[in-house]
């Protein structure tokens, strides 16, 4: 097992568990705990990818989420991870990894030939070149997409299991580094609940080499004491392997846990990824900073890495990513890498520092270890094919140039605080010259920033700073801070420095090989070119060159570009502004966003008490609101139309039963119930007697129909109103709204009882016989139980409400029983109805039966612009009382028949053909695509009892067009002809239902 770059006994990996994995088909090895990046480096793999535009060879630059180059497509078992950074995924046995964006192989990439024509590939090249001829864009697009872009999505279903979780906490701390620990220390003493989020698999990943961080043992011991206190406290909760996706207003944030951890346990139900939704009193950002790359020619070659990433690879994984090592820096902080290497006996070849001097302590250490330091020099160019092998440096002062061999170049161009969360939550930034970075401008409501995120890059200093910031926050909150245990031994701090370095070479070079954003292949030339074209505003420049739009969102490139633009335009970085970072900070799978809300859990499903019976009897269901209702009951020898015909004829000739439990039912109780109903409905309820029912439309304040149903007077001051199945909730809200706002003086209470009652509607000429069998104590004759009346009784000691109403046009009894006994009563009904050829019927048959009678379905035959006048229900509008919508209906326009669409019937010329729903209705003189549209078809069916098709429609001035022929044009532009009739086709006198 070759591990050419692995140090012995260093790091947190488990060397007892070697892991075999494949990179582009080659078998490689690593250890449990290795990221893909560390495993590749340990095997000596430096070339990991190709750049997106120019297909230049690229290697690992960082160790964390800011990695711009090594984007992979990973398969483990049946799970696939797309566009995942090699630094962000651990290795697993038999993991198969492919780089993206190369062909036929990573080492020999034919697409790299594009570089021959690279002088043509300036920003905006595609838009300028391929916009004509327009018809060929589809062809170009396929070619362009083949040579560009990131990973490939699978075409089949996502195999990952996602979960969403909610949590509340007092303080959410993003990060678990020294500043986070230090902030949590006083907070926990004051009783706060703390949630700490760490993207790494270890707490405080920056503190691995603790002996070299602290100035003395007292500091170290104090920090260890604080850390133990915080991590072991019962009020501390830590989420490891968790990335912050967004920080929003009102301290709401979203986190994504285990986004690249593979569930390799036997429990297949463990979620692969969890989207956390956190609501907290305060958010503290201790997410550190991102080290920026240096700008020089070929600065993107494999083997060029950020200095603190090299430290992490050594300390955490025991991996040294190269041999001849050189550090190129502008700050004191990056020297930590040199000392980390020294700890393991590795001496770097040289340090190239752009400054003229450095911190005395560092200088002493370097001299003590005979490490060569070259001050006041900068790198002009790097050389190498698939890995760096040489650099060309120049004195900043004298411009004298020399060449140095190396195969690992550590670079550090200062640090960019992680301020994206601050911007996401609406905050702004200010440029600080001293630390050469943008610092968040905090307000009372914004998140607090500590440590690197606040521009405090020294770990020791950040411990002191964070503690003081916490104390200040609690003091402002008027909390008692007098008894807090202070942090000791963190007195005065001798500060490190960062030089604001802008290479004078850059302005002269204008090179296409000085990359300012690795992931989008944006070069110095591109920036200059875009500026020349007038894109001088940062956001314009970003959209034109695409910098910062990759998967890494330009975490380490954005600030470099701002500084560059400031230099080009001779402005300060503050005048240039900053990037408006938007969520997500790190990539999130769509699956994680949807969580459990997909497939059968997408929307709640409501089932009636008889649902299981319907399922057992082959019901085909349709969605009505959230309800599942039987559309029809399928039989093996029938198609849908045949089943529906059978059900319709059973109702017309014998007896059919439908589960109508989904109808909305609202009880209205109180001494002012009549006044309330009089205002809600256009009919008059004052003279309604107990035990009677009334059909009415419900109008909105504009006079339009928005629901309908039967209202029954159950008792004095006690009414039951029925609504449509889908409209029940809306109606309840509507009634409550009026009751609580306009008519709050009414002593009325409303209560939805939809779930309480199962409604079984018995329809057909034999329904009276069946009802009599069910309720022997009731006289169901017309005289005793007339149409539109109501009676209460019981069945086997179960309370029963019977309404004699009809939506089928047949003799009908709607029987309501408490839902707990719905199934029992349904079974009894079928048991007693067996000799009467009883048949269950679904909503499709119900629709045909009601349409034959011209009964409307609100929302199908009406569309929110239909008034009672339009459907011929003008008599329903009381003249002697006020009601909702009355004033609107008095407008002349609503009574102008010539301009209103009216509900009419339609008989197609071809009596066997069903007109399409929504088809347009035109005059015979009109053509398919020209002329006025008179209206449209709203309901259309084949009637088995009439043995012909028919339809309902809304037609302009329809009442005056009875018996006229019209042209029908459907959505496929097929035409047919029909005759307009009155909207009633069966039992025109209404004798059957009475």
């Amino acid at each position: 097992m070759k591990q050419i770059n692995r140090l012995k006994d260093v790091g947190l990996i488990d060397r007892s568990k070697p892991i075999e994995f494949y990179f582009n088909g080659s078998k490689l090895y690593g250890f449990k705990g290795d990221t893909l990046a560390s495993a590749l480096l340990s095997n000596g793999v430096y070339l990991t990818s190709r750049s997106i535009k120019h297909h230049r060879p690229r290697g690992l630059f960082t160790h964390d989420l800011s990695e711009p180059n090594s984007i992979m497509q990973v398969n483990v078992k049946d799970k696939e991870f797309i566009n995942v950074s090699a630094t962000d995924i651990y290795i697993y046995p038999n993991m198969k990894v492919r780089n993206i964006n190369s062909w036929p192989s990573l080492e020999f990439d034919l697409y790299a030939l594009k570089r021959i024509f690279s002088k043509f590939f300036q920003p905006g090249f595609i838009y300028k070149t391929f916009m004509w001829p327009r018809l060929l864009w589809g062809f170009y697009e396929k070619l362009i997409r083949k040579t560009k872009g990131f990973g490939k999505l699978k075409s089949d279903d996502d195999s990952l299991r996602y979960e969403k979780k909610h949590s509340n906490t007092d303080i959410l701390i993003i990060g678990t580094g020294p500043s986070a620990i230090s902030f949590a220390y006083p907070a926990l003493q004051l009783g706060c609940k703390i949630l700490m989020v760490e993207q790494d698999s270890n707490v405080s990943p920056t503190m691995l080499n603790i002996d070299y961080i602290f100035k003395n043992n007292d500091q170290k011991n104090e920090f260890i004491k604080i850390k133990n206190y915080v991590l072991k406290h019962s009020n501390t909760k830590i989420l490891l392997n968790t990335k912050v996706s967004s920080v929003n207003d009102h301290n709401f944030s979203t986190l994504i846990q285990n986004s690249t951890i593979i569930n390799d346990s036997n429990n297949i139900y463990l979620p692969d990824q969890i989207l956390w939704k956190i609501r907290s009193e305060k958010i503290v950002i201790a997410a550190g900073s991102v080290e920026r790359p240096m700008l020089f020619d070929n600065n993107d070659l494999p083997g060029i890495m950020s200095s603190n990433s090299i430290s992490t690879y050594i300390n955490k994984f025991g991996v040294i990513p190269g041999k001849n090592i050189i550090l190129y820096t502008n700050n004191d902080y990056s020297y930590q890498m040199v000392f980390d290497l020294l700890q393991y006996g590795i001496k770097i070849n040289a340090v190239i520092d752009v400054r003229k001097n450095i911190h005395k302590e560092i200088l002493n250490k370097l001299e003590k270890n005979n490490i060569k330091i070259i001050f006041d020099h900068e790198i002009i160019k790097a050389f190498g094919n698939n890995c760096i092998n040489e650099i060309y440096i120049s004195s900043i002062n004298t411009r004298k140039k020399i060449t140095i061999k190396c195969n690992l170049l550590a670079v550090s161009n200062g640090f960019s605080p992680v301020n994206q969360f601050h911007i996401q939550s609406g905050g702004s930034l200010k440029y600080f010259d001293k630390t050469d970075c943008f610092i968040p401008v905090e307000t009372k409501f914004s998140p607090l920033h500590i440590g690197g995120s606040a521009g405090v890059f020294d770990l020791v200093e950040s411990i002191k700073y964070s503690y003081l910031k916490a104390i200040k926050m609690f003091d402002n909150q008027k909390q008692d801070i007098t008894n807090l245990i202070p942090i000791k031994n963190f007195g005065s701090i001798d500060k490190y420095t960062i030089s604001k370095f802008r290479s004078s070479f850059l302005s002269k070079m204008n090179s296409k090989n000085v990359f300012v954003d690795y992931q989008t292949d944006t070069s110095l030339f591109d920036i200059n070119y875009a500026v020349k074209e007038g894109f001088v505003f940062l956001d314009h420049l970003r959209r034109y060159t695409l910098f910062g739009t990759g998967i890494d969102q330009g975490k380490q490139s954005n600030d470099n570009i701002i500084f560059l633009l400031a230099d080009i335009l001779n402005l300060s970085p503050d005048q240039i502004g900053h990037i408006k970072s938007r969520p997500p900070f790190s990539s999130v799978n769509f699956g994680a966003i949807s969580g459990r809300n997909n497939n059968s859990f997408f929307d709640p499903i409501r089932r009636t008490s008889i649902h299981n019976w319907h399922e057992r009897n082959n019901a085909i269901f349709e969605n009505v609101g959230q309800w599942k209702r039987p559309l029809y009951y399928a039989k093996s020898n029938e198609n849908m139309q045949e089943s529906v015909n059978r059900e319709c004829l059973a109702v017309r000739n014998s007896v059919g039963v439908i589960d109508a439990s989904t109808l909305g039912k609202i009880e209205v109780v109180g001494p002012d119930s009549v006044d309330f109903l009089n205002m809600i409905y256009p009919n008059k309820f004052s003279s309604m007697k107990t035990g009677k029912c009334k059909y009415s439309l419900m109008l909105n304040d504009k006079g339009m129909i928005f629901d309908d149903g039967v209202i029954a007077k159950l008792n004095e001051n006690h009414y039951l109103i029925h609504t449509t199945s889908g409209g029940a909730t809306t109606v309840m809200d509507w009634l409550e709204q009026w009751l609580q706002t306009e008519w709050h003086n009414f002593n009325v209470t409303l209560r939805s009882v939809t779930d309480q009652w199962t409604t079984i509607s018995i329809n057909g000429p034999k329904s009276r016989i069946l009802a009599s069998k069910l309720f022997k104590n009731i006289d169901f004759s017309n005289e005793s139980f007339s149409f539109m009346s109501y009676q209460e009784t019981s069945f086997d000691n179960i309370p029963v409400r019977i309404f004699r109403v009809s939506f089928s046009g047949e003799l009908c009894f709607e029987i309501n029983v408490p839902s707990n006994y719905g199934q029992y009563f349904w079974n009894k009904t079928f048991e007693l109805g067996r000799n009467l050829s009883i048949v269950p019927y679904g909503t499709e048959a119900m629709h045909i039966l009601r349409a034959e009678k011209g009964y409307i379905i609100v929302g199908q035959d009406t569309d929110g612009s239909v008034t009672p006048i339009d459907i011929g229900a003008i008599k329903m509008l009381s003249k002697s009382k006020d009601f909702l919508g009355k004033r609107s209906l008095n407008r002349v326009f609503f009574h102008d028949n010539n301009n209103r669409k009216q509900l009419v019937g339609l008989i197609p010329d071809n009596s066997k053909k069903i007109i399409k729903d929504g088809a347009h209705i035109k005059t015979l003189q009109d053509q398919i695509l020209s002329g006025d549209i008179l209206g449209h078809v709203t309901s259309t069916y084949f009637s088995p009892i009439l043995n012909k098709s028919f339809a309902l429609g809304l037609v302009k001035n329809g009442y005056s067009m009875i018996d006229q022929k019209v042209l029908i044009v459907d959505m496929n532009l097929n035409k047919s002809y029909a005759t307009i009739t009155k909207p009633i086709f069966y039992d025109k006198e209404g004798l059957k239902q009475k």
């Binding site: 139900y269 939704k277 209470t749 086997d796 707990n820 006994y821």
Partner: protein
């Protein structure tokens, strides 16, 4: 023939019965009553209202219980009485009490609701997947709340949050809610 038919499919619950990690069961209550009183009378004139030995909670989000009967605070003038005892059918006769002649209404909703009980070590973890309500932060013993669980309006109530929690939901949604809870619980089985 059994008259009562449960609203949820009990076969699904087999492996969740008495499971120490997550236990899910339906709790049958014979009676569910929705009670509304005049708010002014409640808060101005009476501190404690007692019906059939049961104290009506006037503090928000509180429940009171006696034997198999619970009174759950729904809003400042609305309560839910959940009971398995016939004795409390008398609650329907509230108007007979002199001090509540300003009552608004009592609705018998005994068939409209289903109650699901969750217990075991992970029931709070399961709920955290389905609701934004922070159970531990907001719910104490003898507490109740109305919230959305998996987008379904649910009354959450508990006698002792350390032991178990009850979800009272409209009957028509109960099977869907149960299936959602079962799916969220699978990782703990």
């Amino acid at each position: 023939m059994i008259k009562y038919s449960p609203s949820i499919n009990h076969i699904n619950l087999n492996k969740f019965r008495n499971n120490k990690d997550i236990s899910i069961s339906e709790v049958y209550f014979k009676h569910y009553f929705n009670i509304k009183f005049d708010r002014k009378v409640m808060y101005d004139d009476y501190i404690n209202l007692e019906v059939e030995g049961l104290i009506i909670p006037v503090i928000n989000n509180k429940i009171t219980h006696y034997d198999n009967t619970k009174l759950i605070w729904i809003s400042p003038y609305e309560w839910m009485c959940i009971s398995h005892s016939n004795r409390f059918q008398n609650i329907c006769k509230l108007p007979k009490y002199s001090y509540i002649d300003n009552f608004k209404s009592i609705f018998d909703l005994s068939s409209a609701y289903t109650t699901i009980k969750l217990s075991g070590e992970n029931f709070i973890n399961v709920l955290s997947k389905l609701t934004t309500l922070d159970i531990l932060l907001n719910i104490n013993s003898e507490y109740c709340a109305q919230t959305l669980i998996s987008n379904i309006k649910t009354i959450i109530w508990t006698n002792d949050i350390q032991k178990d929690i009850f979800l009272t939901v409209n009957r028509s949604y109960s099977q869907h809610l149960l299936e959602t809870i079962l799916d969220a619980s699978l990782e703990y089985i």
